[in-house]
Amino acid sequence: MLKTEKILHLKARGRSVRAVREHYLREDVRCGSALCLTCPRDGKLLSEDLTHYVVPDCQILQDYLEVLEFPELRGIIIMQTACQSVQHQRGRRQYKRLCSLLRDTRHDCILFSNEFQNHAYLPREMGESALAWQTRCIYNSCVWYYQHCQKKIPVVMVTEDKSVIRQYNTETQEVYVVSFQIYLETFWPNLKGALELYKSLKETHRERELESREGNGKEYPEHLPLEILEAGIKSGRYQQGVLSVNKHRAQLEGFVRLQGLGGKETDIQSDILIYGTKPRNRAIHGDLVAVELLSRSEWKGRNGALCENETDEKAVDAQAEVMPTGRVVGILQRNWRDYVATFPAKEDIETQGKNAQRVLVMPWDYRIPKIRISTQQAEALQDYRVVVRIDSWESTSLYPNGHFVRVLGRTGNLEAEIATILVENSISVNPFSEAQLAEMPSNTPESPWQVKPEEGDRLDLRKTHLVFSIDPKGCEDVDDALSIRKLPSGHLELGVHIADVTHFVPPNTYTDIEARSRATTYYLADRRYDMLPLILSADLCSLLGGVDRYAVSVIWEMDSSTYEIRRVWYGRTIIRSSYKLSYEVAQQLMDGDLEPLNTEMELHPLKQDPVRLEQLLWAVGKLTEVAHATRMRRDMSGALELEGVEVRVQLGEKHSIDDLVPKQPLQMHETIAECMILANHWVAKKIWECYPQHALLRLHPPARQEFFQELKECAKARGFSIDTRSNKALADSLDQANDPSDPLVNQLLRMMATQAMSNARYFSTGSYTEDEFYHYGLALEKYTHFTSPIRRYADIVVHRLLLAAVNKGPKDNLLGNKDLEELCRHINVRNRAAQHCQKQSTELFQCMFFKDKDPDSDQRCISDAVIYGIRTNGVLLFLPRYGIKGAAYLKNIDGLVLACKDNGRCHWMPGSLQRLPDRIVVTTQEAKSFSYCLFDHVTVRIHVQSSRFHPDSIRLEIIRNRPHSSQEALPSASNPQLARSELVKEVTRTAVEAQLAVEGAEELKPVEHYQEYRQTQGQSLYSMLEELWDLALLDVSGA
């Protein structure tokens, strides 16, 4: 036995490692030929009646194994060299297939271990390519084999490589080297099937090669190096943008929203479509990628049909409208975060091969591909949601590699699902640490917090001003208060007083750093996570009635008749709020109804004090007048009249049915909102004047016109025309688009308008030009957030800027433009996360609400719905009753369509669908046709589709094409206040009960918990108005 050494260069964890392996050569390798007399004749032998032996080379064996599997092909000798190349380059599946072929005694083929045969083996030479060496080795083995069989039988080596044929064909007599095609044609002329299969395989290989240029065994093409990408982006060859994957067609459609066009003239206005996973090239939702545009002939259109992720994609119906399509050539910045995932069911794990430690887990988010992780806990963690991190994604791997991080809880458990939502939005809400709380002042009954006398430079408004706050009922974090009075000069003085959070939170303290990282208070359907510790947010910073508090005030002096602003003062103050009113009470007072004096504890003393009562009534009334006047002024310049009805839609969308009862929002809401907008606007002006390079402002870019297309079409269906050229025109035309018979039409149109808009965002003034500052929705040239420092970090920054600007605060800690821009980006991201989180938690509660109801029997699962969008195979519905938006199919998977009987009941029948701009026509086989028009009312049944891996989703099914009439008769509907809160309560209760059942009888603490959490929650109309712009999230999926 001879010993040689093979030196291999192995890749281990990305590094190249030199490994030396022994390699023993011997004489007595069994040849497996029946003609051989020397070798032992055991095991599988090639049959004796053959005319020749055939030896496929590596390439043939890798690509055309299927052809070799034809049982008619006989006398195949597979060299070990080729066999190993299959194992290494084609993966385990094909290797197994090859092994089973070799084991199959019916099939006339053998494996010859040529690499262990002393004479058949040739060592690889220095600098020789693997392929060349393999070919040389196989040829040499063929020659040896031929001689080993005493030259009794010719050996044919088949290859695809023409140069190999040229090189070796004539080297040895009776050892032929031919191409596979010629081999099949000459030796097996009767075997048409094999030849055809060969040709079709060849075709697909050629295609695949074209697709993945250098794709030898790789699943994806390699990314280009960073320098090339940067140069390419500069020269305009590549585009740079953030990839966002279509949630509903995660496998196929991804879009790259271009960014940093930076003055480059490009003819691409819209997003770039990335169609399929190959062109997406390992980019994951959220990554910053570089894209190369494909030639125009390869552009594809997006799919307009509704579809579920589970169903396979049928051929995309010819779509007239193509959009720019590209492929990802490199990733500039990975944006991986923690992902929540679920292990596959036990049966599936076992099919993933004997090496069960590698498991493909399914992420919660549809947009994320499956992640391969190695763990031994796969079975133990069957029904748990776990956090997974992605480590790498090699070009040779179909899926990314990741690792398991921690367990969140059982699937379906309320706490686990909430934790899932938090993790998915990258929100971490650990309780405040000791260090943070140590910074907080204390306020206990024994040592109450007091105003310090050294704060003497504050303007003391406690004696001179009547300050009061108007907030929703039960609100704890009062961050704004108002005052108004007549000056001796005859002018009016209006004051907006905002809680002075920056006094308690100096820059770069632990609390500040924590607040900055949280950026906002997170409101979930049943709970909230504060940005600041409770002592600040609910006590010391909250401008409660009857106690001294620090504030930052904006005080205007205005003309008493025209309400023109004459002067403005900004600064720190001490105030004592006299009354903490709720919107309803304030409204009643303004309307002259003095009933609240008896019901509200706080107002009792006023009954005996007509002077002060008079003062308050005057203040409330005057305030409304002032607000109305400023509002009118803003309207003139084109502010969008979205709040009134729009907010109700928002309510309807997110909460439940409050808005079904046409309830005019109180005038008081608008008054407060207007005052806050005024304050924000003036603060914005001030800080911009003082710090033109690094002021934090908020802008709302004008909406892109193409997004209004759907709105326009919908409106046309009802005969309205919507003018979207400017914000003013849009506001006016939306006002006119009012159907007296159905108020929902206007609501839906406004909702769509909101959806079409871009998001408002914070920015640093140094990074934009002045004309970009414009706030489209509010029609103000400068705007910022100043009035809610308790729950938004941006406001804290603005406070610091303002106080520095009026010389009342430290100047050295202000952020420069670059840092501020960075911070703005962070806050914007966190705000988005907060909204997503709120939306997802609401959806979660909706699903949990409907989950334990039987859709067939429970009346609450039947609801009225309005069609607000048409797709090729279904309609989009809005359920005002529950504020749910969803899609309903008119064509199911079996190709049946939903047709209606005369009595309005719907059934699945064979037929066809036709989509028109404003309606979808269903034609059954009996040539009857029905149409579903936009804004038609239908009755739907709601049921919940549960999924192991993903969030549960609500499915709608149209059961009648008439409005749902029996609504009033229903017990739950008769009570129109089954509001979101109630829904939440119910779900929380069931969750709590479930928990109790598990943990045994514990105190009913969670319920109290719930009570404690009742806070502003965006109920204040003003804050909702603020959020409205943010909620205009554009769902690119369109479904």
């Binding site: 010993k3 392996r21 022994e22 390699h23 194992q87 290494h88 290797y95 494996l111 271990s113």
Partner: protein, 249 residues
């Protein structure tokens, strides 16, 4: 590379050996003149150097002294360059201390220690290149070194590892085979008497298979013995010719 196939259908292991075949063994005795005994051995790509001092008086603390036999002091170490990646291995890491202990046990069983009361025998072994079967190679090297030092032993101590993969016992595992994680058994045998000096197993193996694996291991040990014996004889031959030459001169 998806799951290396350690034993092919044709019965070949990754390096071309069959199940019961050993790696190539080459050995030399008396490689150092200063030490009392020394030997160098290669088993495939595993290379080890053994040096023996003694028997001599107890060095260091006298408390270790035994009155009826000699103390066998062993030390095992791996050269920093012995593995694919250079790695500093300070003395006394747990793996080496365990090896040291095993070596000591093995040689206390083999050397006729009662002949040298109140004295000490030092055996130092170093792995120069590690490619599987480190312990066994060390034992074989040490045996040769002890013989070279002229210390009487009951018998050669021959060691070999054996594994169990796909229902077949494999003799003398290489690093690739060890790394696959199957059961592995290390056996140090006194081949003439079939006495076991040390037996170690590092993972679970069903009782039914144990005998077969043991048989494979002891067969391998006997093969090793044959080679070692050959080496010793050749070395003696060489030595006697040299001595003969010297006396002749």
């Amino acid at each position: 590379m998806a799951g290396l196939e350690l034993l092919s259908d044709q019965g070949y292991r990754v390096d071309g050996r069959k199940a019961g075949e050993l790696r190539k063994i080459r050995a030399r005795m008396g490689v150092f003149a200063q030490a009392d005994g020394s030997a160098y051995i290669e088993q495939g790509n595993t290379k080890a150097l053994a040096v023996v001092y003694g028997p001599h008086e107890i060095r260091g603390s006298r408390s270790k002294m035994l009155h009826d036999r000699s103390v066998v002091n062993c030390q095992y170490s791996m050269a920093t360059f012995s593995t694919g990646e250079r790695k500093r291995r300070p003395h006394g890491d747990r793996k080496s201390s365990e090896m040291t202990l095993h070596l000591k046990q093995t040689f206390e069983a083999a050397i006729l220690t009662q002949l040298y009361p109140r004295s000490q025998i030092d055996i130092y072994v170093q792995i120069l290149q590690a490619d599987g079967g480190n312990y066994c190679t060390c034992v074989n090297a040490a045996t040769l070194a002890v013989i070279d030092a002229g210390i009487p032993m009951r018998d050669y101590v021959c060691a070999s590892s054996a594994g169990f993969i796909e229902d077949t016992p494999l003799a003398d595992l290489s690093y690739v085979e060890e790394a696959a994680g199957g059961p592995q058994l290390a056996l140090a045998l006194l081949p003439k008497s079939d006495q076991i000096a040390l037996l170690e197993m590092n993972s679970r193996l069903h009782e039914d298979h144990l005998e077969r694996v043991m048989d494979a291991a002891s067969k391998a040990c006997k093969d090793v013995y044959a080679v070692l014996d050959q080496v010793v004889r050749e070395h003696l031959q060489e030595l006697t010719t040299l001595l003969g030459d010297r006396t002749a001169a």
